[in-house]
């Protein structure tokens, strides 16, 4: 069963001048077709303006495609009767941690989603506890979000989505505003969710380092999917990636350069350990 299936999805922003006349049409997403297997860790890479965020918003019916269709767990995103169910199936985490925390206390914020779904109070309590424990924020449940670091706030946001018991979580550049430590925290939490709980993760990012562990990577450029494959397949094509203004992880780049200079190193190196092992064999 495909958890997400997109077929020829096109989204156009209509630019208007001051009188409301159509000035031009921006095609932010251009005939994107893809599908995602349940339980996968997916990354969507792309530089600024590549349409990756716009596409992400289609995955829980915040935006509806101008043309084409998106199915979320078999439900058409245009189906208004299933809106709540779609939003519960595919939770979404955004970039700015401050602007997506609604509650004044951590546990109240995590409860916001289940409250909207009308979950009975006793079950909300269980869900809040369970999701905060999963992201390792249980000790902070009585704190004000204003006292947390960026990485912690983002983990609270993830817990908030988790409490809705989604099958899939879409994260739109969740680490863009965090320091390296916070970024690590968030990615670690996501990997745990994917491996332990089996939740499908769709991570939208422009940090290549975060995509190393992905099952599959999509690269977007100018609204189109231009590359699709496993990290190893994608990172091999260093020159092509640079063309799309994306930076390959430094370790991969180093290995690539060494290989070009004639060292016998395997095709695509993703971690420091792999490179040291390869170098020892040389």
């Amino acid at each position: 069963m495909k958890i997400i299936k997109a077929e020829e999805v096109t989204f156009e922003y209509i630019r208007r001048d001051e009188d409301g006349n159509v000035e031009g049409i921006n095609r932010a997403v251009d005939k994107v077709s893809l599908d995602v297997k349940e339980g996968d860790f997916i990354c969507v890479l792309g530089s600024n303006g590549s349409g990756k965020s716009t596409f992400a918003k289609h995955l829980n019916s915040i935006l509806l495609p101008t043309e084409g269709t998106v199915w979320i767990d078999g439900m058409d995103s245009k189906d208004e009767d299933k809106l709540l169910q779609i939003r519960q199936t595919a939770g979404m985490v955004f970039q700015n941690p401050d602007n997506q925390i609604i509650g004044q206390v951590v546990d109240e914020d995590v409860a916001f989603g289940p409250e909207n779904m009308g979950v009975p109070t006793e079950q909300i309590k269980e869900r809040v506890e369970e999701s905060l424990k999963t992201v390792g924020m249980y000790d902070f449940r009585k704190k004000s979000p204003n006292h947390l670091s960026g990485g912690q706030k983002q983990r609270v946001s993830i817990a908030g989505v988790l409490a809705m018991h989604p099958k899939c979580i879409v994260l739109d550049e969740p680490t863009a505003m965090l320091d390296p430590l916070g970024r690590k925290e968030v990615i670690r939490a996501l990997r745990a969710l994917n491996e332990v709980e089996g939740i499908t993760i769709i991570l939208i990012t422009h940090y290549m380092e975060e995509t190393v562990y992905a099952d599959r990577i999509f690269v977007m450029n100018k609204g189109k999917i231009v590359m699709d494959g496993s990290p190893r397949e994608i990172f091999k094509r260093v020159e092509e990636l640079e063309e799309y203004k994306l930076e390959v992880p430094k370790i991969t780049l180093l290995a690539h350069e060494l290989r070009k200079r004639g060292l016998r190193i395997p095709d695509c190196v993703l971690t420091v350990k792999e490179l040291t092992d390869a170098l020892k064999k040389c």
Binding site: G91, Q104, A111, G113, P114, I124, K125
Partner: protein, 283 residues
């Protein structure tokens, strides 16, 4: 900056703190009305006793309540002076346009007592209830107004979001002030007009950022399935406990006593006080 509290909540473990916010809201309202409806010393004595008991139960230091009083000192002095000098009646002292009358002194004293009780009762409520619980209580209390199409849930939601974003926007304002100061803006001019003008480079970016945040937040709320108040449940629903029912009973008793005293006191006073004694000033 991060620790700003609104409505000066005082953290303590007490029965009054744990009371349902609805009880406190209704209680404060009834109490205030009772102070205005009946205007004699017996009622005020009963009211003062009730308030003293509540203060003692709340474990909030008296100093905190008196802080609230300081703010209205000016109004208080003003009303007292007005009442003393400009109430018509039996004049005790007279000079130029001023005359001090028995009724004037009586009114002034009653007014002072009334204002003091009023302010302290209101501050007791805000001191013992977090803004969060207060909005919850308001939402539940005013729910019947939904029948006349008043968006009660939405207003409560707005209030609690505003409370959440105040510290964030304060921090942001601080950052903008620093950024503008670094570029040569001055916020410390002595002239009022210049000072007002200097606020423009602070307020414009602050508003733009507030709007951006609002739009982000709306998106995030929608993504988490927010669709208004219908069919919503709560993590901490307001539920009456036995202490709340007891409080309501006390409240009803209080209202009964006040009404009884208010109606009968005129007769009692006539009985008790010999005419012209200075004690009668009070009644």
């Amino acid at each position: 900056m991060k620790d700003i509290t609104l409505g000066q909540y005082y953290q303590a473990e007490s029965v009054i703190h744990r009371l349902d916010p609805r009880v406190k809201l209704v209680g404060t309202l009834l109490y205030m009305i009772s102070l205005f409806v009946f205007n004699n010393i017996f009622c005020y004595i009963v009211a003062a006793i009730l308030l003293a008991v509540v203060i003692a139960l709340s474990k909030v230091p008296i100093g905190y309540m008196l802080k609230g009083m300081r703010a209205i000192m000016f109004i208080m002095i003003f009303t007292v002076i007005f009442n003393v000098f400009f109430t018509n009646g039996d004049n005790l002292v007279e000079f130029w346009i001023f005359h001090i009358s028995k009724e004037g002194i009586r009114m002034a004293i009653l007014m002072m007592v009334r204002l003091t009780l009023l302010i302290i009762s209101a501050s007791i409520m805000t001191l013992t209830t977090t803004p969060n619980r207060l909005t919850d209580g308001l939402e539940k209390l005013f729910r019947p107004l939904k029948l006349i199409k008043l968006p009660v849930h939405e207003i409560a939601m707005m209030m609690s979001i505003a409370l959440r974003f105040i510290p964030i926007l304060m921090e942001e304002a601080d950052k903008i002030v620093k950024a503008q100061t670094a570029r040569g803006a001055r916020f410390d001019s002595k002239k009022l007009t210049e000072r007002a003008k200097s606020l423009i480079p602070l307020i414009v970016p602050l508003f733009i950022s507030a709007f951006r945040r609002a739009s982000d937040l709306a998106l995030a709320m929608e993504a988490r399935g927010y669709h208004g108040g219908d069919g919503r449940t709560k993590l901490y629903p307001l539920k009456y406990a036995s202490r709340d029912y007891i409080s309501y009973a006390v409240l009803i008793l209080y209202v009964a006593i006040i009404v009884f005293l208010g109606i009968t006191s005129a007769r009692i006073i006539a009985h008790l006080t010999p005419a012209n004694s200075y004690l009668s000033l009070l009644f």
